[in-house]
Every structure is written in structure tokens, then in C-alpha cells.
Symmetry: D2
Subunit: 104 residues, 4 copies
Amino acid sequence: MHNQSPEMKDCIEACLDCYQACLGTASGHCLETGGKHTEPQHFRLMLACAEICRTAAHFMLLGSAHHKHVCRECAEICDECATDCERIGDMQDCVEACRRCAES
Amino acid sequence: MHNQSPEMKDCIEACLDCYQACLGTASGHCLETGGKHTEPQHFRLMLACAEICRTAAHFMLLGSAHHKHVCRECAEICDECATDCERIGDMQDCVEACRRCAES
Amino acid sequence: MHNQSPEMKDCIEACLDCYQACLGTASGHCLETGGKHTEPQHFRLMLACAEICRTAAHFMLLGSAHHKHVCRECAEICDECATDCERIGDMQDCVEACRRCAES
Amino acid sequence: MHNQSPEMKDCIEACLDCYQACLGTASGHCLETGGKHTEPQHFRLMLACAEICRTAAHFMLLGSAHHKHVCRECAEICDECATDCERIGDMQDCVEACRRCAES
């Protein structure tokens, strides 16, 4: 891991934190709570956000030059996911992880 | 899987074929052959291509509206990977899977 | 991909088919239908099955000697997922993909 | 993420740290250094270790009961990867992340 700047390391951390928050919240909170939390559009967005965060981290760890495009897409999905988690409520951890990730 | 058009199904197949070709060729051929096949830039591109194909298929299976952006990025990386595999040679299966995937 | 026997190729195919069936059905059918289809235990099993199938395919494509253990775990989860999809009903494609994968 | 004990959280962290160490070292150090670092058996083990760590974390985040088997397999591969990284040398970060992950 000789090729990672401190900024890159922080960004990888933010992506993996957001991945954990989205997947952990979707499975441990949304599925248990049901109702608005399992609306198809919302739940899919949680899973899509988890996946793109995981992939963005993977691209940065690989050191691929394409990580910029993947990270840009990641920030967009994180942003949308944060807004949707706020709308439904009761998922502040996930909102914050998504916002930090979108900004990093 | 009630939400997939035939075009979507074909595109998922092309992505998973390309994922298989890239990862299988990288591990089973490039690592064994060495030399130009394990040039960092080339080998990373093979792994990045495998990962984005896997992720693009995931987004289409989820039915996420963001699959369009992920597929566009996927097509770009596939295209670059096909060109690089052609330059190094002896990886025609991988070239073809990448081209099919980039066009789908 | 010079290192794959025909049996291995079939097994990779079965795993990726099952991954597609589980993730596509979970997102495209279970989330839309709700009720028993989004019971936490069932839905988690669908996502876990998708993930282990994806990973088992990855290990076989890598040509890792550990693929045997991963495939054994994969067969167990597929079997459990097939039984659970049958219990809930209306997911015959997924049942069949899981059974084929468990047996391969 | 209401369902994770502190032990589980630590184990997820250890897995994701090990995933980062293995993939980051493989791409940023082994590919650049070549020689013994790109021996097929070694490099495949690094990639297999990264993948199983990623999957073990995924199973714990999902809250799947099968995480125990996946974590056991993960510990075995991490242990083997640590030993192999020590044999080749110059990858102490990766050795330590693998050992911590195997023990967690």
C-alpha cells in the first residue's frame, strides 16, 4: 500500500464506513422495521449505495486511474441515499456516513 | 426477476462473461505467463475491468436507476481493456468479451 | 482461462446463474411483493446466497485451492435458500437455480 | 446497524482492514516489485484473501447466521496468507492485518 496519499486513505475509509452503514442499516434496521423502510425504491437505493461504495474503495485500493469516475458516481448515489434516509427518518448514522462519503 | 427486459438480460450476461474472462485470464494466464502480462498498468486494468463488470451486473440486477452511469463507465473500461489485451496479445477471448460488453 | 476444466466452467456458470436469480428475485420480486417476501430472515438469506455464489465463482476464476471450502459453504446456503423460497412460494426460478448450484 | 455486538464490530473492522491491506499491497507493492511477489500461487492467495475478507464482512453486516462458517474459512486463508507474506518478506503490514483478522 505504498501508493496511497493520506487523502486517498481517508476517502477509502469513508467509502468502507458508508458501505458498512448502508448494508448494516438495510439488513439490521430496515428489514426489521418494515413499512417505509422496505419500500422498493428506498431499499434498492441502500443496496446500490453499499455496492458503489465497496466498488469505489476497490478501485482506489487497486490504484486504477478510473477511480475518479467511480468516486464521482459514488458521491452522487451517496448524496441521494442520505436524502432518502433523512426523508424516511431514524437512520442518522447512515445519513452521516453517506454525507461524509459524498464529500470526501 | 420480473423487471428485466431482454436487452437488460443480454447486457447482464455480457458483463458477467467479461468479468469471467478478465479475472480468469488475469489469474490463469497473465500470472502464469509473466513479462508484459504482469506489467502493473495492464494487470490492474484487468482487475479493474473485472470489478466494474461485476458491479454493473449488480446494479442491473438490483434494478437501480443508476445502472446507466455505471454501465457507461463499464463500457469505457472494457474498451480500454480490450485495446490493452490486443496490444499485449494472446488474449483473444478477453478482447472479445470486453468488446461485446462495451457495445451492449 | 486456461486452467478451467469443463466441470469447473459449469460450476462457475451455475454459481453466477444462482447469484443472478437470488439478487434479481430479491430486488425485482420480493421487495415489490412484500409480506412474507420481506421477512428479515428470508430476505437476508436471499442476499447471503447471492453473495456466497458470487464469491464461490470468484474463487474458481482465481483458481484458488480454497474454492472447495467456499463451494461447500455455497452449496449449503443454496440448499437452505431453495427450501425457504419453496416455503414462501412463487419463486420457482430461484428455487431451481439454487438447487442446480447446490448440486454442481 | 442495531444488531452488532462490539465483538462483531471489531471483527468486521479487522476483515475490512485485512481486505485493504491485501488488495492494496498486491496492487501497489507486489505488482510493482515483481519477482517472487508475482509468483502465481502467492499473488492468487493475496487476491483470495482480499475476497474472503470482503465476503466475511458482508455476511456479518447482513447478520446472516452463516457468517460463522465464512469467518472460519476467512481465518484459515488469512493465516495462510500471513505465512506466505512472511516467507516472501517486505509486507509486514499485510502480515499483521492477516494475523489480526485470523484471530478475531
